[in-house]
């Protein structure tokens, strides 16, 4: 066993801007985002790509950044939760819908949940309830019972049968 660490130089696009970072070959994208680039919005939970908390978008597709080697992201277009709102602070419609529909409580699954939901609507702008459930099944939330998350996605898709909160 050797303790010599192999350092690689990575260049990719992150939230619309070119970034360049040195990291160890074995580092995951989540580690690079959180520890090297100080973007801690990406959360690490299960570490075995089952819970979806660490979801980020790579070339518009959701990936589990907890097991995705940072090296794999070279030259690609990565979007993390920090890249969703507009520079003037205006929230992405999915972020706003999560607030409006009370679609989170503790918030730990929320960044991954929002990015997965965005990926769904990018691919299928008017999904049925069943399609939402099928697509989102890889993201776990322990607080909300999922119902308000489905509502938030339907709201952005324009398919929510409205029942306003009191």
């Amino acid at each position: 066993m050797t303790d010599v660490k192999q350092i690689v130089n990575l260049k990719f696009t992150l939230n619309g801007k070119a970034v360049e970072v040195d990291c160890e070959a074995e580092e995951t994208l989540a580690e690079v985002l959180r520890d090297r680039l100080n973007l801690t919005g990406t959360k690490i939970s299960c570490e075995v790509q089952v819970c979806g908390a660490c979801t980020v978008l790579v070339d518009n597709l959701p990936v589990s950044s907890c097991t995705y080697l940072a090296y794999e992201a070279r030259g690609k277009n990565v979007v993390s939760i920090e890249g969703l709102a507009k520079p003037d602070g205006t929230l992405h419609p999915m972020q706003q819908a999560f607030i409006d529909e009370f679609a989170f409580q503790c918030g730990f699954c929320t960044p991954g949940m929002i990015l997965a939901a965005k990926a769904l609507l990018d691919e299928n702008p008017k999904p049925s309830r069943e399609e939402i459930i099928h697509f989102m099944d890889g993201n776990i939330c322990r607080c909300t019972g999922y119902v308000p998350i489905v509502r938030a996605i339907q709201k952005v898709a324009g398919t929510l049968e409205n029942k306003p909160h009191k």
Binding site: T42, S80, F102, Q105, T110, Y146, I149
Partner: protein, 761 residues
Amino acid sequence: MTNEKKKGEFQVVNHSVPRRDGRAKVTGRASYVSDVKLPAMAWAKVLRSPYPHAKIVSIDTSKAAARPGVYGVLTGNDLEGINPYYGHAVKDHPLLAIGKVRYVGEPVAAVVATDERTAFAALEFIEVKYEELKPVLTPEDAMANDAPLLHDRQFEAGALRGFEGEVTAGKKSNICQEHHLKWGDVEEAFKKAAAVVEGEYYFPMTYAYAMEAYVAIADVNDNGVTVYSSAQHPFMVRHDLKAIFNLPVSQVRLIVPFVGGGYGSKSYTKIEPLAAACSWKFRRPVKLQLTIEEAMLTTRSDDAFTWMRTAVDANGKIIARQARIYMNTGAYAENSPLVVEKSTNRCVGPYSIPNVQIDNYSFYTNTVPASSYRGFGCAQVTLPGESQVDELAAKIGKDSYEFRVMNAAKHGEEFFPKMRPFEGSLKEDLDIAAKALGWKEPIPKGHGRSIACSTSDAGAYPLTSTAVRVHADGSVTILTGSTELGQGSHTVLPQIAAEELGVPFEKVHVMSSDTAITPYDRSTGASRTTTLMGSAMIDACREAIQQMVAMAADVLKVKVEQVEVVRGGVRVGELQLDWSQIISKYYALPDGEVIGRAYIRKAGRFSQIPVFWETVSTGVEIAIDEETGKIDVEKLVTVGDVGLAINPALAEGQDIGAATMGLGTGLYEELVYEGAQLMNGSILEYRLPRFKDTAKEVELNLVENQDGVGPYGAKGGGEGSLNSMAANIANAVARATGVRIRHAPLTPERVWRALKERKAQ
């Protein structure tokens, strides 16, 4: 009392104001302990025991300690100079195993290194020699005459208060705690009963599964101990740390930023002592971040083996209930002695039963220590309790919903001797549940319906304080020791302050859960924050207003009696001043502040225990596939009897969240031990509710009769809808198939086997 305003008259309260933490949480800016870094911070990783019960013969850490980047290795032999035992009920829990390990997964040593990978890589270089001892794995093992004792010394008491019994732990047996409840004469009542049902039930061990695993960053230096933690109860952790390090309260600081889910599993002290001991020994800030698998080796809920019988008279009135419960509490007591007391009390249910006898024992075993979990022992006993209500109704040919209504405790009724009388509208709640579920409508083939209910002696112990700072510009900072776990305290508490001070919600800001700054609050659990911290908030706002009335009188040179309080300020004759103007005039500068404060104790309106009764009715309709035993939830109904919802959307969110966890334990959640080994201690094997498990239809209801002791008649919520879910599943299966299953969770295999047995008969 503070319920002078009626529903419909509130400006801020009783509205579904968007969450205060919303923007932070949807943009990734919300900070959790896992996101915190301190300068010069080291990382710790833990070596865990491979044996359930063994003597530690020797530990050689030299090779691990010599590795590059390692600052040192801490073991149970290095704790001289501190008091290494802690525990909320009794101090039976060493922060690292000392001389002996008591469960597979117990921390044996911790490596502290420059980074997490280096610390982890060093673990395999620690050499531990064990001498195996006979393990005790179940209550049955623990009771055996030749059972080895897990603990063989007397323990010092922990911080547990408001507790009726003494803790049994450490008294020369493996009984961790026993609790007994008795009124009336059950023997006599069962003799003269018109019908009796009797059965044995099992409620499984479960894991709360917060998405954020336990994490703590400790910095121990000459100024004392500072810990950033994912703890629900920072003041309770402070209590343990001050004893471990023999420090005054003022030198122990717990800081809790946003918590990534708790559900009771982050109650009380967990990994903070170990992180702090690492920092103390190696003289630098240390971060200890567990993995989910390690978190599952840190705590779980108590499983329960319950024998219960319930009797009715000829009029269909429940006249007696008796139960004997054996709980498996694992290697250390943690908060389980309180779970034992609470589950004893919660056997009674929301019914007026004249003869009751409950005998409840929890046992130390060589398994992961059990402690608090959402609902505090209520789900464990509501499976038998609400199953038997259905079984009895069926036996005497009554509709189970009508049978419940007939036996429901009534508002103001002293249904539980020496406790606060029942508060709530259970009949109304059940009616709403029945209507929402379409109770009287024909049931499709293969479907079953159930309505169930529970009440919990909730609110924990009433000791809470707060301060409200009104600034010279009219903005407000509230200081609250309650932690934001996601339940919404950062939204509900400023709503209450805004209502009281008559200022916009946006002007009230929250400073929370830093024991060096925020006044004492005993805990964030048992659904107590809205009721207790909310009440303190009202009192503190009103005290601030009184001070500002006196200030207004002073600056305007009038008598205090001439100053009339109006929304957001005062009026003296034609002159109106808002809070900002009063404070600025008082200090003769546009600066300064007024501090209102409040202390809640077990006195006055909070003199009776429980603080409140948390009462929830729930209902399900399920579809069952008899070929596979698989159950789908078609419809889910909750009815929270909350007095007044300070924020209805948040209250409903608590109800559906808790109900979903309850469905998990009703349908598939279960920690499985095979011998001494936890077989499914990871997300890959521990089945959690997912998107695909959501009910097709959901109806969430709140009953708001302003009959609680809290703000404007509010009572707590957030746990209740979990409690009756496993019973609902069992009852609905019984209605659909005629087969009564008394063992949760009702997994497809368990259901399929039960149906197969029926066919065989």
